[in-house]
Symmetry: C2
Subunit: 306 residues, 2 copies
């Protein structure tokens, strides 16, 4: 196999209580990438469609993660990468992560799969670091593994695959404002009250238990964030209105996707997700902020060959 | 039924990463209580053997929790309670909790079980508050529900029953020093670094996942406490020596039981637990501190009629 085309999905990181550790994978939206072997060694990005991103491999997250992989594998060929970007950079649903993960997934396939998913995540973290300034795996892991993931630790990297209840759907609204990841990080306190931390880890434990037991009501009671959301919600206009409109019609939970500005809503069942989509559209339609929405199943497969 | 005899087991709260929320139940040691109906209304404690504790119901944790229950149930009888205490008060393995839970469990049985386990825990929290100064359920829940429990929240009280891997054993060493719960609380900072809190909730999520998947290696990697143990271990002489001797021979984890001074060690298999018991005995035998040790299976039943 000399050429491969893949779909690298959008992802939601943090998931309310699970700041920096939890994430899940979407299937309604994702980037496509074509990667092919070249005689010339190294990584070349030959095409980028959709959004304006750097072509130099060292300045492109897909390039940086690919370079990390081939730096380790030292193959006797190189690779050229075409990126068909559908996930808007800066939207908060893992745009950089999809690029970083997609290139290493594809190259691994072309090399005959010498690396496992955790190793691929490790390479992709180099690309992710270019975008966010630090090596995070909370978007990468759900993209590479699919479903719900928990990044137990980053050094050493350990990723746990959590079960995904089959009726879980997600609705995303992306208000088209810019929030820099660095700004979203800077707004957080370095120290937090112990009592709030206890509430948070009770909710993390509870959410993991709820995913294992298919308990949608418990998922609902666990999707609380007393640490990060109180700070970051100020960066997203009408966040509280979106949240209350979604919860009012029976959503399981609503929170900031990654560092925003996208907002995610989890629901039980596709129809409820569609109802939520209408409700939150109504909220933003009354504002002068551009936005788009979509509804998706949870993608349990992750990145795939198409 | 006018009289009942029950066994109210010792419990381990916190369980390393799960400060204030996780706990599990032992079966090797526990209090016995006899409770019988009386014509005269109210609660009378008629016998206390084992340790010197107050007979006045309002000053005894078993009495206070029993009063909370009958204050709600308003039965047309009263109850007298005999307490045969085996769990040493102040040992850190839920002595007050066993008394507080035992009396309400027994009275509930004699009344024909009007209350569920969560309601019983709520009544018992009134007794626990007498001992510790605040309403905690992290020792009560494993005693009343059995096995591993997660106190998702105290207001409203919500307790989750986690699965218990069948080969899990625990070894306890109780160095006979006094640590006041208030002192153990005061030593903790009110604020903690966000990055440590993230590590902790990753471990809580990971431990819950490990219990669901019977993954002993993951249990081992999850039993880390970066928040509380670094402070409290200074209150327990030779804690680090006990911990390193237990981990060296393959224990899954070792931490402070509740607010100490007892130390718990979790192992896979009974023989390993016995080996650990010998190893940690050796550590304390070299000191001039009195101590005792015991090994126990995890008690999945909780309080029971005997």
């Amino acid at each position: 196999m000399n050429e491969i085309k893949i779909f690298s999905p959008a992802t939601v990181a943090n998931v309310s209580c699970g700041f920096d550790v939890l994430g899940f994978c979407l299937d309604a939206i994702g980037d496509e990438m074509v990667v092919r072997k070249t005689k010339e060694k190294g990584i070349k990005i030959t095409k980028i469609e959709g959004y304006d991103l750097p072509f130099e491999a060292e300045k492109n997250v897909a390039g940086v993660s690919a370079l990390a992989l081939i730096g380790h594998a030292n193959p006797d060929c190189g690779f050229e990468i075409e990126i068909y970007k559908n996930i808007k950079p800066g939207s908060g649903i893992g745009s950089s992560s999809a690029s970083a993960a997609g290139s290493v997934f594809a190259i691994n396939e072309l090399l005959g799969k010498p690396y496992n998913k955790t190793q691929l995540t490790n390479f992709a973290m180099k690309g992710e670091a270019l975008a966010s300034g630090s090596e995070h795996a909370d978007n990468l892991a759900p993209g590479i593994f699919g479903g719900f993931t928990l990044v137990k630790s980053t050094v050493p990297l350990e990723i746990l695959e959590l079960p995904t209840p089959s009726q879980l759907y997600v609705t995303i609204i992306h208000p088209q404002i810019e929030i820099k990841t660095s700004e979203a990080r800077a707004i957080l306190p370095k120290e937090i009250p112990l009592k709030d931390a206890i509430t948070q880890w009770a909710n993390v434990g509870s959410l993991v238990h709820a995913l294992h037991t298919n308990d949608y009501n418990l998922i609902q009671r666990s999707l609380q964030d007393v640490i990060v959301e109180p700070y970051r919600k100020s960066l997203i206009p009408y966040f509280e209105d979106v949240k209350s409109s979604a919860l009012k019609i029976g959503a399981l939970g609503c929170g900031i996707s990654g560092s925003g500005p996208s907002i995610f809503v989890l629901t039980k069942g596709k129809q409820k997700a569609k109802d939520v989509e209408e409700a939150i559209k109504t909220v933003y339609s009354k504002t002068d902020i551009e936005f788009y929405t979509f509804t998706s199943a949870i993608n349990t497969e992750g990145i795939k060959i198409i």
